[in-house]
Symmetry: C2
Subunit: 477 residues, 2 copies
């Protein structure tokens, strides 16, 4: 059913919740903080999974599966790790009708349980690298939740690798970050800024964290994927050693990395408009919807005969839905599929059939500019061309939006103003003092120090001291 959406311009946050539910991506569950992912939302997640899974495997990574439960003592072994995760843990205290001797933690992330196994399996340099990942659910207790973006339980993959050298581990961190960047930009049509997290924002237990940061429609930042260089933190705690080629005992170097179902929320926030979702063709569960139009039974027969031919032919090449529901008007269907973000609509009426043509309507363009006639003989090639163009155009629109809302403040006052309006890109001296002062003054954080920047000398936007790198400052989800 088409529901009345709160316009984005009126209230972005309510619009988001409205559209996620109206488009049947997800729903609230009776369990506090946990969502239900409905088939349409899950299909988007499956698109992301398929892309990533194929990329991971092409790079020699292997899927595996590790336990949901982690003994409390394990998760406490690495000091920074437990400090970071302690407030968010869900604890199983009873099993099979009895109180457990040691409580079990529902995994918030699996470094500890996985590295306990790596210590058992790794003996020699011949066992390295280990490049495993798993698709699973994790639980982090959240006070304020939001469908997809912040939920107590969410789905993700987590990669965990072990290498003979720090250099090789760093290459892995960067290779994965690049896969995430390509998922975001090429598949999701979502521009991202790859960069390094500040120490205060890095993963609990990592030497350093790299991230891709995206601007959402409300001009806030969203961390869309992270790749961690763990150094030897967990190797030391779990004693993961190997004999190198000279028969010397060495400790492994490690990485971990993840993206989550929050990416489905990102897709909504980056591209959506007052009418609802706008899905990039590569991610869309339905790329093209055909709406047949008729008044009389005779017209219905004529139109549906052609619609069935299109279904049989075009349906082999694109994800096509023929909306032949007979209890709803074409206008209702137009609105419904627009709200659900289907990139391209084919309208087919009796006159079109007579003229061997159809109307194509793009979701990425304003009404009145978005329609064209196309000969049915050229339908496949035209649909393909338009889908490619829509994919490119959504990216270009999002990039333009980010550029228009990125500012270059020169002092703290300008920075405070800038992060109220969008992203601020400015010099930062790298000190935690300046970072803290900025956080106290503004409601923003340092999202990352972009990798792609000229290393020219400048002055910290906060303290005015010498600085060599710019950072992205923004409010964030």
């Amino acid at each position: 059913m088409v529901q009345k959406l709160t316009p984005r311009s009126v209230d972005d946050s309510t619009w988001y919740t409205d559209v996620v539910q109206a488009a049947e991506l997800a729903d609230y569950s009776p369990v506090r903080g946990c969502m239900v992912i409905r088939p349409y939302g899950y299909a988007i997640w499956e698109s992301m999974q398929q892309y990533l899974d194929q990329r991971f495997k092409a790079g020699g990574h292997q899927p595996a599966y590790f336990p949901l439960f982690i003994p409390q003592s394990f998760i406490q072994k690495e000091a920074e790790h437990i400090e970071g995760f302690a407030p968010q843990l869900a604890v199983v205290t009873h099993g099979g009708g009895e109180k457990l001797e040691e409580p079990l933690i529902v995994r918030p992330t699996s470094e500890t349980i996985i590295n306990a196994m790596y210590a058992k399996w790794i003996r020699s340099y011949r066992d390295l690298p280990i490049l495993y990942y798993q698709w699973c659910n994790v639980v982090r207790w959240e006070m304020r939740t939001r469908l997809f973006l912040r939920t107590t339980e969410f789905l993700w993959h987590e990669g965990h690798t072990a290498h003979a050298t720090a250099d090789e581990a760093m290459k892995e961190v960067m290779a994965i970050l690049d896969i995430y960047r390509e998922l975001a930009q090429n598949e999701m049509a979502m521009p991202v800024i790859p960069g390094r997290k500040s120490d205060s924002e890095k993963f609990a237990g990592a030497d350093a964290t790299w991230t891709i940061e995206a601007m959402m429609g409300n001009k806030w930042a969203l961390q869309a994927g992270t790749s961690h260089f763990l150094g030897q933190h967990f190797a030391k705690v779990f004693n993961i050693q190997f004999l190198d080629e000279s028969n010397q005992l060495q400790m492994v170097w490690q990485t971990s990395w993840a993206v989550t179902t929050r990416l489905v929320g990102a897709l909504v926030m980056v591209h959506g408009d007052d009418q609802g979702l706008r899905l990039p063709p590569r991610m869309a569960p339905i790329q093209v919807v055909l709406v047949p139009i008729w008044k009389t039974e005779e017209e219905r027969c004529q139109v549906m005969a052609v619609a069935e031919r299109v279904r049989a032919e075009l349906g082999q090449h694109v994800r096509l839905k023929v909306d032949d529901r007979d209890d709803l008007s074409p206008g209702f269907k137009f609105n419904d599929w627009e709200m659900r973000g289907v990139p391209l609509r084919i309208e087919l009426g009796p006159k079109d059939v007579q003229n061997n043509q159809a109307v194509l309507a793009r979701r990425d363009m304003p009404a009145r500019q978005n329609k064209c006639f196309v000969s049915l003989d050229a339908l496949l090639s035209e649909v393909r061309k338009l889908l490619d163009d829509i994919q490119r155009n959504l990216y270009a629109q999002a990039l333009r939006f980010r550029d228009e809302n990125t500012f270059h403040p020169g002092n703290l006052e300008e920075l405070t103003d800038a992060v109220g309006k969008g992203f601020a890109r400015a010099y930062w001296c790298g000190s935690a003092e300046c970072e803290n002062r900025m956080k106290e003054t503004t409601r923003a954080t340092i999202r990352c120090v972009p990798m792609d920047q000229e290393k020219e000398p400048g002055h910290c936007v906060i303290c005015g001291q010498a600085a060599s790198e710019k950072a992205i400052f923004a409010r964030s989800f």
Copy 2:
């Protein structure tokens, strides 16, 4: 590494645990009752997933995702359901550092949480049928565990459907059971007996349960998949109603169904031998392994050049591994890949290269009968033919084994003897009294009442009264 396996003939149970670990299918974790599925084992599970996922989607089913946690009050709503699952529950009592007002159950199965959502979503006959399933983890506390076959946490899919009529729901139960049968027989090369569970063995909360039952190598039965007709049990408890075409309020009819990672264990138990795994080609992560053989560096170059050509050509059509490790002997590699169950081995030495040939060795035949020479020009067609033949032969071997170990007792004494040696197929009057008496006398259970049987009058093997159906009696995992 090749490890010494306990022979099956000496101790089937130790053999099983040895081979699962030696072949790196799975390992014990530090969490009681939970296993780690290693990449080789996970790849088999992925084969099963891909097959089923494609079948489910072809039948109009849609994947979705529901919460891991179930409020305690939900799981207690259906009386039989909670009675069945109460002893096996894992309970979360604390989250985010605080004691929860209502404890959360880690899902042992998701009827209750999913049907709570269905009650919210279903309004009209136009919303039906709902055909959803999810791939996820579930937890059932187990006292005695066994890798894959019985673990506290396991992976599965669970399907949950809602229909307008009982008849349509029953058709769904049967359609799914048939998909499970075809997975077992055609993909896993595992003969199964489809049939109905007795009331004492049915799912807690179902009107009736259908199952596929397989004979393992130790002649015990394994329940390999179940499809439940839930009737209106959950519809009544969660009040799942819809307006039918005459605008009358009706209650939905439901099904649920699942297969789990225990199928990986079944694959091991059905086909394995003293040398280790024997994997049917359709399920094998590696279908063909090429072992190059050389002594001198010159020979190595000659052989590897051909091996690379085979990799490039054959590797496009079958899942091929070229074992070019230079620190291990060919004999070691032969044993290693035999232990891991690879269906077909290509041996390639300098003389073979000269003669434009290779040796093919089948895993499904005894040594000395399993080798043949083949021209390299005919390699692809020969490999395909042999893989098909191995798939068929493994099924035929398993079927012959089951037939040889299935008995037809005429009274309780013969039945007791029969279930000590294999399956017993005998008349049962259908009474719980006889079922209980049989359980007390033997260590067997009624596995199912096979669907495929002549309905001829006979006499119950336990009480001697009139009976019209035969049942399968066996010990089971």
